[in-house]
Amino acid sequence: MASNAVASQTGRKKVAMHDGFLKHAGFRWLKISSGIMLVCIISYIFIDVSPRHNGGSWYGYTLGTIGALLILWLTMLGVRKRAMTSGSWSLKAWTSAHIYLGLSLIVIGTLHTGFQLGWNIHTAAYVFMMIVIISGIFGIYFYATIPDKLSDNRDEMTETEMLENLRSLDRQLHESAQPLSAEHATLVLQSLEQDPFGGGFMRRISGRYPDCATRIAQADLRRERAYQPKMGGDDPLDKVDALLEKKEATLARVRRHLRLKAMLQVWLFIHVPMTFALIGSLSAHIISVFFYW
């Protein structure tokens, strides 16, 4: 029985369909990366470099070379990601390696400096590297947490459906607003004409849209009608009001979706350009060292 249970357990493990880039292959790259970091730290402590640790000792050169090659390899993910394959060198394996080896660069790079930092290009390269890594850590965090939220928010709607939903509401609003007076129609028109995807980066990432025309239209209409007696019958404004409320709910969902998607992407807008700044300053760092040898 017991052996059966074990067998079935391992069997289940093997066929586990989805483990993310973090857990890939039983945290293989986390283990490798931890090993690298440990070796670096221990050797840093125990290897006696005279007069003291810095990037110019043999140990410093070794760490520097490893670090520079690692940076170039990590950058290659940008090329590699455009070709999805499976297997042990699958894109997922690459991503997993990218993350954990990238994190090990904190240790390799920092030890390479020998903690000698200053206002110079060598430290600039280090700072760029740290910016890249820290933005990457944000990326990991977002990738690990946001997809769940995205999925919850979408409620099984696709992006196309969200857009169609908005279009449909707009059409209905347009239709229902036809009998309205010019003033009321203008309010509704503002809602229709506002770009639900506009508003710039800060609105997108914060999810706050203080000038949302739909909300303004609804608020204005309600304020106006607050003390009006119910007319009974078919007041077109009732329908418009209901539609505006629906539209606002949809907009809220879309905006949450946009905000989450923005967070999924925004770190890359730092990560990628800073990687290139890093490669540039890394080149300057290496060339300058040999230039003023």
Binding site: S50, L189, V272, A277, S288
Partner: protein
């Protein structure tokens, strides 16, 4: 029929549906309200926006009734007159009305041109939910950063370098290549901070000794011949090979000044030479530099040869011959003097007694001690040579005559003068006159005695000057003042008295390759290192061996020893006659520190 209104609607799949309605009236309305002939389901349009009326001359007048504008060929208008034959385009909200004529009738073609709402417009869904357009593109900013970084951090500094090639001294301003500096320069080189090219002359060529020697022409002599140095150091081992591979791959020859004198390690004084640097060569050196006379040394506490002082071979002359002999061989040294230390330091006996008797005058203690004869030099490092007048003559008097209370002494160091003085003394003085030659004589029976005394005295007076030779001989011979301390050369011929004094050489420093300061060891008794109190012979070399030093001094890493000592405590790479650099630095530090204050209770 006056007007024909043709409405064109577009279905979802892009198909156009055209509906034409004739209106037999001179005036029709335009508005959102369905009562209007031209009904525009457009929220931007007023329920009753404008009217169109036909004039007699066939022109039509379009006039806003709501006060809201409309456009004529894109221009805002409230009222216009149009010749239908010329045609025109009117704009109401998201709709356009094209005015034309068809078979004598005025035709209005109505079409929605703007989307009903913003969301209804065509959108590329692949980018709609992305940040595209909201932030500068990744590709753009990536290349931008690369260009910026390379320009600022690489091209600009290289330009600076190229600009100031061969310039003696750079102007005092910001220079871009200082951004390459990996750290502040040491205090001594601080003035070069802005002038990278003072040391880094050529591109991709390492700092050479030549640039160092531009300034350090006098104070940076070689530790040993460069090729022997390299041999002694041996090839790189283990992981060192990595560094060596980099060095040789990038044209960085070994054995340059900067290999030890590492710069850009931060402001402040340069670090003292690490013991490792010494041990790099001196540990197991005989294996690499097979013909060396030096013994291996890696650590004072663990591996350091016995001291080999430069022992005087023969006293006299300006540069008397010396030979380095290990203290293990118990070398002796004859410096031309006789001096039993034990007798002088004894707490009992004649010397001590004499000292006590003279203690009031010379501040001696109950017995003689080292300092009664040995005087430290002004820096307290070593001792002044012992001076006869200063240090010996308190007891070892050279007095030979007294005239009116003044003691006459023989001249020390001038044997000829000693002889002359003694001769003069005997020539100018008479022997003591027997009292029975005077008038107050006490008579004894018989006259012969008187005659004998008188003739004896006369003979003595006559031979008095020749007595000098005897006195001279006595002074230079056993029991005489000179002989007590000095080696004496005998006269050149029998009967002559041209005695000579053998030359004396006092050694003030035995170990020229190492440094020892007596002042630093003030807390110790002299005898804890120098066994003078048992030395019977001046030939005894009273230098302590390494064992004695090791009682307190351990190696650099022997933390348990009283004084963990690096090589640099006694040795200097670019050694001169003075103290090692490390000790000088320590002295500097001591001078800087404020006096210790006793804590208030």
């Amino acid at each position: 029929m006056t007007f024909i209104v043709r409405q064109i609607a577009t279905t979802a799949d892009g198909r156009e549906i055209v509906r034409s309605n004739p209106f037999d009236s001179d005036q029709i309305g335009i508005g959102r309200s369905t009562e209007n002939a031209i009904h525009l389901p457009d929220l931007a349009v007023n329920p009753d926006h404008a009217t169109i009326s036909k004039r007699e001359d066939g022109h039509i007048v379009v006039e806003s009734t709501s006060g809201q504008n409309f456009t004529l060929d894109g221009k805002q208008r409230v009222s216009v007159t149009i010749d239908p034959a010329d045609g025109a385009e009117l704009g109401f909200g998201g709709h356009v009305i094209v005015v034309g004529e068809e078979e004598g009738q005025i035709l209005f073609t109505v079409k929605r041109v703007e989307a009903l709402s913003d969301s209804a417009e065509d959108r590329s869904e692949s980018t709609l939910y992305t940040l595209e357009g909201l932030l500068p593109g990744k590709r753009m900013s990536a290349w931008g950063f690369v260009a910026l970084v390379l320009a600022a951090f690489l091209i600009w500094p290289i330009y600076t370098w190229a600009t100031y090639r061969g310039v003696e001294e750079r102007p005092d301003q910001f220079h871009a290549d200082t951004m390459w500096s990996s750290g502040a320069l040491s205090q001594a080189h601080h003035s070069l901070e802005g002038d990278c090219q003072a040391c880094h002359v050529d591109a991709f060529v390492t700092v050479t000794d030549k640039t160092c020697l531009t300034c350090h022409e006098d104070d940076a002599h070689d530790h040993a011949k460069p090729n022997r140095l390299l041999t002694a150091r041996g090839g790189p081992e283990g992981f060192e090979k990595i560094g060596a591979a980099f060095a040789s791959a990038f044209n960085k020859p070994p054995g340059r000044c900067v290999e030890c004198h590492t710069e850009h390690e931060g402001a402040g004084a340069m670090e003292p030479t690490a013991q490792k640097f010494c041990a790099d060569c001196h540990e197991g050196m005989d294996g690499r530099l097979t013909d060396t006379k030096l013994e291996n040394a890696s650590d004072f506490g663990l591996e350091h040869p016995q001291f080999r002082p430069a022992v005087l071979q023969k006293p006299g002359g300006k540069n008397p011959p010396r030979k380095r002999i290990s203290l293990d061989e118990k070398p002796t040294e004859y410096n031309g003097l006789k001096f039993p230390h034990d007798m002088h330091l004894s707490k009992t006996g004649g010397v001590a007694q004499m000292g006590r008797r003279l203690s009031a005058k010379y501040d001696f203690g109950p017995s003689l001690v080292c300092k009664d004869c040995h005087t430290p030099d002004p820096k307290g490092v070593r001792f002044e040579p012992v001076d006869m007048q200063e240090d010996c003559s308190m007891c070892h008097s050279l007095a030979f005559d007294e005239i009116g209370g003044t003691i006459r002494t023989l001249r020390h160091g001038e044997p000829d003068m000693v002889r002359a003085d003694l001769r003069a003394y005997y020539r100018s003085t008479r022997p003591t006159r027997p009292i029975n030659l005077g008038g107050m004589k006490r008579r004894r029976p018989g006259g012969n005695n008187d005659v004998r005394v008188a003739s004896d005295y006369a003979r003595a007076v006559q031979f008095r000057p020749s007595r000098a030779n005897l006195a001279i001989s006595e002074v230079f011979s056993r029991g005489g003042a000179c002989f007590d301390c000095h080696g004496v050369t005998p006269p050149t011929a029998r009967g002559r008295v041209d005695f000579g004094i053998k030359p004396v050489t006092q050694t003030d420093r035995y170990m020229h390759k190492g440094w020892f300061s007596h002042e630093a060891h003030n807390d110790e008794d002299c005898t804890s290192c120098h066994t003078a109190d048992t030395s019977k012979d001046a030939r005894d070399l009273l230098l302590p061996g390494i064992k004695t030093c090791r009682e307190c001094h351990g190696g650099e890493f022997q933390a348990t020893s009283d004084v963990p000592s690096t090589c640099a405590m006694c040795h200097d790479y670019h050694a001169d006659e003075g103290a090692p650099w490390l000790m000088k630095e320590q002295q500097k530090d001591k001078r800087k520190k404020p006096d210790k204050k006793i804590a208030q209770r």
